[in-house]
C-alpha cells in the first residue's frame, strides 16, 4: 500500500502543484491587502469566515480536498464521462434561463442555498475541455475536413452562445480560447490570420476617421491589383476576389461596426471599448440609451473611472512598489471590484514593476510547464486536454491583466486562482488537477 502511495506521488507533477499553491497563496494575500483595515485583529479576521480573504482560505481548503480526491480517482473516468458531462453542462446553462438568479445584471447563477450560487458557465469550461479533447482524440478523425472542424467549433462555441444570451460577454469570450487548441491540432492557419485581420480592421475603424480609412483600404486594394497585375490578367476571378474583399472591408468599416456598436452593444460596453483605444463614445447614438431616454429613464453616463484608477494604482507602484499594505489606491478603495476583476492592481501598487513581472512569471512558468506536459503525453486526449487548460488559463490572464493596464476593454473575467470567488477557484482547481491526474498516466493511451 505504501509503495502504491509512493508511486502515486512520484507520478504527480510537483512543479505544477507548487506553482498552483504559490499563485493561490498570493491571491489570498492580495485579497487581504484589498480588504485590510488598520485597527483589526488579523488572526481573528482570518478565522472568522466573514471577510473575503477568510472565505477564500476556506475555498482553498475545499480545493485541497477536491484535488486530493481527483488525484486518487481513476483517469479513465474522465474520458468516459467527457461527453456526458458536456451534455450535463449545457443542461445546467439552459436551466439558468428558468431558475437563474440575477446577479449584477446577468442571469447566469443557480442558487444552491446557504448563500452559495453556482455559475454553470464556469463549470462548463471543464466539460467543454473534456468534450473537445474527447472529440479531437477520436481515433479515425480527420481534422483536415471542414466538417470535423465545424463540429469542433460547435462544441467549443455552444456554451459561448448560451453565455452571450445570459448577458455574460466576458465568460463567452473565454470559449474563443479553444481556437488555440484547435490550431495546435491542425486548424488551418489562415483562419487565425483572417481573425486577426478582422480584429485589426475593427480597431482601425475605431481609431481612424471613416473616410480616411476608406481611402486607405482603397489604396491597399489598388496596390494589390497593381502588384498582381499579371496574375489578374490571367484570371478574372482573382480581380473579383480582391474587389470582393475590398467591398467587404469597407462595408464592415462603414456599416457593420457602427451598427454593432450602436445597436448590439449596450452603451457601457461601447464606451469601454472606445475608452481602450483612447476615444470617447457618444452614448446618444446607442439604441439602448435612446430606448431608455424615450421611456424617460435616467441615463447614467459611464466613464473610464475604473481603468483610470486601475492605471493610477499600477503606475503609482513604480519599480519597487509602495510596500505591503501601503498602497493608497488600495487602502482608499479607489479601484472598484478590486478583490475580484482588478486584483492585479493591488500587486502592481504594492510590489511595483518587480513584483508584477515576478507574478506574471509564475503564470508563464505554469503555462509553459503545462504545454511541455502536453507534448509528453502519449494519449491524444490528454494532450488536447492539456492544451485546453493552458489556453483557458492563458486567455484569462491576458484579458484580465490587459484590462487592468488599459490594453483591453473591461470585461468581467477573473484572474485565475487569484481573484476572489469560489466558482472560479474551484473550476481552475478541477481543470488543473484533472490534467495532473491524466499526466500521471501519461504512458497509457486513454480513449
Amino acid at each position: 500500500m505504501a509503495e502504491r502511495e509512493k508511486e502515486l506521488a512520484k507520478g504527480v507533477d510537483w512543479i505544477v502543484v507548487l506553482l498552483y499553491a504559490i499563485i493561490l497563496a498570493t491571491g489570498i494575500l492580495c485579497i487581504f491587502m484589498v480588504e485590510y483595515k488598520a485597527d483589526l485583529n488579523v488572526f481573528q479576521a482570518f478565522t472568522s469566515g466573514k471577510t473575503d480573504y477568510s472565505k477564500q482560505l476556506i475555498f482553498g481548503g475545499i480545493c485541497a480536498l477536491l484535488a486530493t480526491f481527483i488525484l486518487l480517482s481513476d483517469s479513465k473516468l474522465y474520458t468516459a464521462m467527457a461527453n456526458l458531462s458536456y451534455v450535463f453542462g449545457i443542461f445546467l446553462m439552459v436551466l439558468t434561463f428558468v431558475i437563474g438568479k440575477n446577479v449584477n445584471g446577468s442571469k447566469s447563477w443557480i442558487p444552491l442555498g446557504g448563500g452559495f450560487n453556482l455559475q454553470p458557465a464556469e463549470l462548463c469550461k471543464i466539460f467543454t475541455s473534456l468534450a473537445l479533447a474527447k472529440y479531437l482524440s477520436t481515433q479515425d478523425l480527420d481534422f483536415t475536413k471542414i466538417k470535423s472542424q465545424l463540429i469542433a467549433c460547435a462544441i467549443a462555441l455552444g456554451p459561448a452562445m448560451l453565455s452571450i444570451l445570459q448577458n455574460e460577454t466576458g465568460l463567452a469570450l473565454v470559449y474563443f480560447s479553444f481556437f488555440i487548441v484547435m490550431f495546435r491540432e491542425g486548424l488551418p492557419g489562415w483562419i487565425l490570420i483572417v481573425g486577426f485581420s478582422f480584429a485589426a480592421l475593427v480597431v482601425a475603424t475605431l481609431i481612424v476617421d471613416p473616410n480616411t480609412l476608406a481611402i486607405i483600404l482603397t489604396l491597399i486594394a489598388a496596390i494589390a491589383v497593381y502588384v498582381l497585375r499579371r496574375q489578374v490578367k490571367r484570371s478574372r476571378s482573382l480581380l473579383l476576389f480582391i474587389v470582393g474583399i475590398w467591398i467587404g472591408c469597407v462595408g464592415i468599416q462603414r456599416f457593420v461596426v457602427p451598427y454593432i456598436f450602436n445597436n448590439v452593444f449596450q452603451c457601457y460596453q461601447s464606451t469601454r471599448i472606445y475608452a481602450m483605444v483612447g476615444k470617447e463614445y457618444d452614448c446618444g447614438q446607442n439604441r439602448s440609451t435612446k430606448k431608455r431616454e424615450s421611456e424617460d429613464k435616467k441615463v447614467a453616463k459611464p466613464d473610464d473611472y475604473n481603468v483610470r484608477q486601475s492605471k493610477i494604482a499600477i503606475g503609482s507602484g513604480r519599480f519597487f512598489g509602495r510596500g505591503f499594505l501601503k498602497g493608497t489606491q488600495t487602502r482608499g478603495k479607489y479601484v472598484p471590484e478590486q478583490q475580484t476583476d482588478f486584483i492585479f492592481t493591488s500587486i502592481g501598487e504594492a510590489f511595483g514593476f518587480m513584483g508584477s513581472v515576478g507574478f506574471l512569471m509564475l503564470y508563464a512558468g505554469l503555462l509553459f510547464r503545462i504545454i511541455w506536459m502536453a507534448e509528453r503525453q502519449r494519449s491524444a486526449f490528454s494532450r488536447v486536454y492539456a492544451y485546453c487548460v493552458a489556453s483557458i488559463i492563458f486567455f484569462h490572464v491576458m484579458v484580465n491583466v490587459c484590462m487592468t493596464i488599459g490594453l483591453f476593454p473591461i470585461v468581467g473575467i477573473p484572474l485565475p486562482l487569484v481573484s476572489y470567488g469560489g466558482s472560479s477557484l474551484l473550476t481552475f482547481t478541477i481543470l488543473i488537477f484533472i490534467l495532473l491526474r491524466l499526466d500521471m498516466d501519461r504512458n497509457k493511451i486513454l480513449r
Binding site: 491542425g186 482608499g332 479607489y334 509553459f368
Partner: protein
Amino acid sequence: MALEENQGRSKIVQLIFAVLFLVIIAQLLHLQIFSKDYRLQAENNAIYRKVVYPDRGIIFDRKGKPILENTVMYDLMVTPYDARKGMDTLTLCKILDIDTAEYHKRMVTAIIKNGNYKAYAFESLLSPEKYARLNESLYKFPGFVLQERSVRSYPFPVASNILGRLGEVDSSFLAKNADKGYQPGDFTGVTGLERTYESVLMGRRGVERYLRDNKGRMQGHWEKGIYDTAAIAGKNLYSTMDIELQQLGEKLFQHKIGAAVAINPKTGGILAMITAPTYDPNLLSPANRRQNYGKLILDTARPMWNRAIQGQYPPGSTFKPLNALVALDEGLITPSFGVDCGGGYSGCGRFIRCTHSGGGHAANLRTALANSCNTYFSITYRMEVDNPKYGGVKKGYMAWKKYMNGFGLGVKLGVDLPSEQMGNIPDTSGYNKDFNGHWNSCSNVTLGIGQDRMTATPIQLANAAALIANGGYYYTPHLVDHIQDEDEDDKKLMQSYRTKHKALDIDQAAFDAVHKGMADVASEGTAAMINIPGVKFAAKTGTAQNPHGKNHAVFIAYAPVDNPRIAIAVVVENSGYGATWAGPIAGYMLEKYINDSLTESSKAGVESFSKVDLVPDAIKHWYYVKDSLKQVKLTQQASKGVDSIPPATLFRQPEQPKTLFDPEAEPNRREADGGDSNPYAPNANKNAIVLPDERKIKDKNIRRTTH
C-alpha cells in the same frame, strides 16, 4: 493522425504566449517606470492635507487683563450620507428654529456643494443656548457633529481701531507673502495690532496628512503621522494700554469727533488711544461682519479711521511750548524775556488777535505761556527764523524745521500700528512756489502759534508733551510692552521701541522755564478751570483754526508736574475752545490714571460731559439724508410689493398717530413726536427737505442745556 505535422505548431503557440506576455511587460514598463505622474495622481487621490491652525496670541493690558482673546464657538456640521436613518428632524428644526422645508433645503445645498460624504456647516457660529440644547440631544441626530471654531473676541467693546481685526487674505496678499505659508481662505490681521504683530500672534501652523478613501472619508493619519507637524500657538502680547483709561476716554468722546493719546513718558508706552467715532469691535465678528462692514466703511464720520495716528490737525497754541524751547535753546531769549502786548500782533501787517489784552500778560515767558500770548510767540518765531547766525530766512527756516523734526513733528514716529501719518512741517519749496521765492518770516509767522500749514497727529502732540515732560528725550510711542517668551526675532522687532531718542541737546534750564509756564497754565492760566484732586499738572491749551468749520479744541498736558507719569494730547474736532472741550477730557483721564479712580463729582462730570453732542451739523445732515433715502427706498419697495422681508405693516403702524392732530394747525407737533428716533417713521421722509433745519435747532437747544 496529424500528430507529427502539427508538432511545429506547439512552438507557434508558445511563441504567441511569450509575445503577449512581453506586450504586458512593455505596458507595465510604460506605466510603472516611464510615466512619472501616476504616483502623484495616487497621492492627490488619497492624501488629504489638513492645516491645523494654532490659537492666536492673546493681548493683555498693562494690568494683565485680556483685551483681545479667543473664544470657542461651535458650528453644526452634517454629513448627509449618515444623516438619513434614525434622524429626528423635527426636534432639530425646533432647536434651530427652522422649518422642515428649510432643513431639506440646507441638506440639498450640502449635498450639491460638498457631496454626500463630506461634512458641511449646517449652521455656523451657534449661539450658546442653541449649542447647549444641541449638545444634550445630539445622539438623536446621526451624521451631525458640533465642530469647534476659534474666534477672536473682545472682552471690552473698546479700542477696535487699535486692536485691529482679522480679514481673509486676498490674492495680492498671498503674492506678497508667498513664503509665509498662507493659503486662500486663511485669515490675517488687516488693521491695528493684529496686523503689526501678525507674525508673532499667528504662531506656526501645523500640517496633518490624512488618508482619504474613495468617498472622501478620513481613514486615519498618513504613514501614522510621521510627516505631520504640530501647530505652535501664537505668542501673547503684553500691552502698555490701560483698558479702564481707554474705556473712560471712549466714554468721554461719545457724540464727539476727535482723538486722544495718553503716553507714559518714561517708557513711551501708550496708555490709551482714543479715536472717535469708533465702533463696537463685535460688529465685525465673523457672524456679523457681512451685515455691518459696508455700513461702517461708508460712514462719512469714518469710524474705521484711526484719527489718533492718521488725523492731521493744526496744533494751535499747544505748539507754543516747543516754540519757546527753540528760542531758549538758540539763546534768542531768556525766561525773563517779555513783550508788551496790547491785544494782538501787528508786526507783519495783518493783525493776529490775542486772547488777552491786559498789560503785562506777556511780561515774561512764564506768563506768556500761561496766558497763551500770540504776540509773544509770533515774535519769538520771527527771531528764530531770522536768526542772523544762519544768514537768511530760508536757511533759518530749515534750521527751525530741523528742531521740529527733532520734536517728532513732520516725521513718522514709527508707532506699532499700520498707516501712521506724518503730519506736516512744510518745506521751503512750498513757500518758494507760493511767494515766487520772495518770502520772509512774516509770510508764515503763524507757524509760531501752531497754525499756517503746520499739522500734527494727536500721537505726535502726545509725544511732544512726553518729550517736554521728560526734559528732552522720548521713546517711540508703542502699544506693546513685551512679547511672551521673546526670542531674537521678537527682540529685533521691539528694538526700536526701547531706544531713547534725544535728537536735540536742549539745556535743562530751558525745560525748567517751559515746565513752569505750563504748570501755570493749569493753575492760573487758560486751563485754570480744570482741577485734578491732589495732583499738580502742567498743560497747554489750543484752539486751532481750520478750514473745515469751527475751531478744533486741542489740549496737551502731563502730570504730576515734578515726576511726570502720563503725558496726554486731546483733539476735539470743530468744537471750540481747547480748555472747554478738550481740557476736561484730558483732566478726567489724568485723574483716573494717577489717582486710579475718580471722585464722585468727577464721575458726575464724566457722565454729563459724555452726553454733550459736538458732532458737526454737516455730518448729522449726512446721516439724516442717508436714513431718509433708505426709508424712501423701503417704502417704495413695500408699495410695489417687491420687498418680501419687511412686511407692509411696519410702515402702516406709525401712521395712526398722524390722524390724531391737524398738521396745518399744529406744525410743530410732528417734530415733538420724535421722527428721528424711529428710522422707519413715514413722516420723516415725507418732509425730507424741511426737517434738517428743524433738527439743527433742536441740536442747539440740547447743547445749550448741557453747558
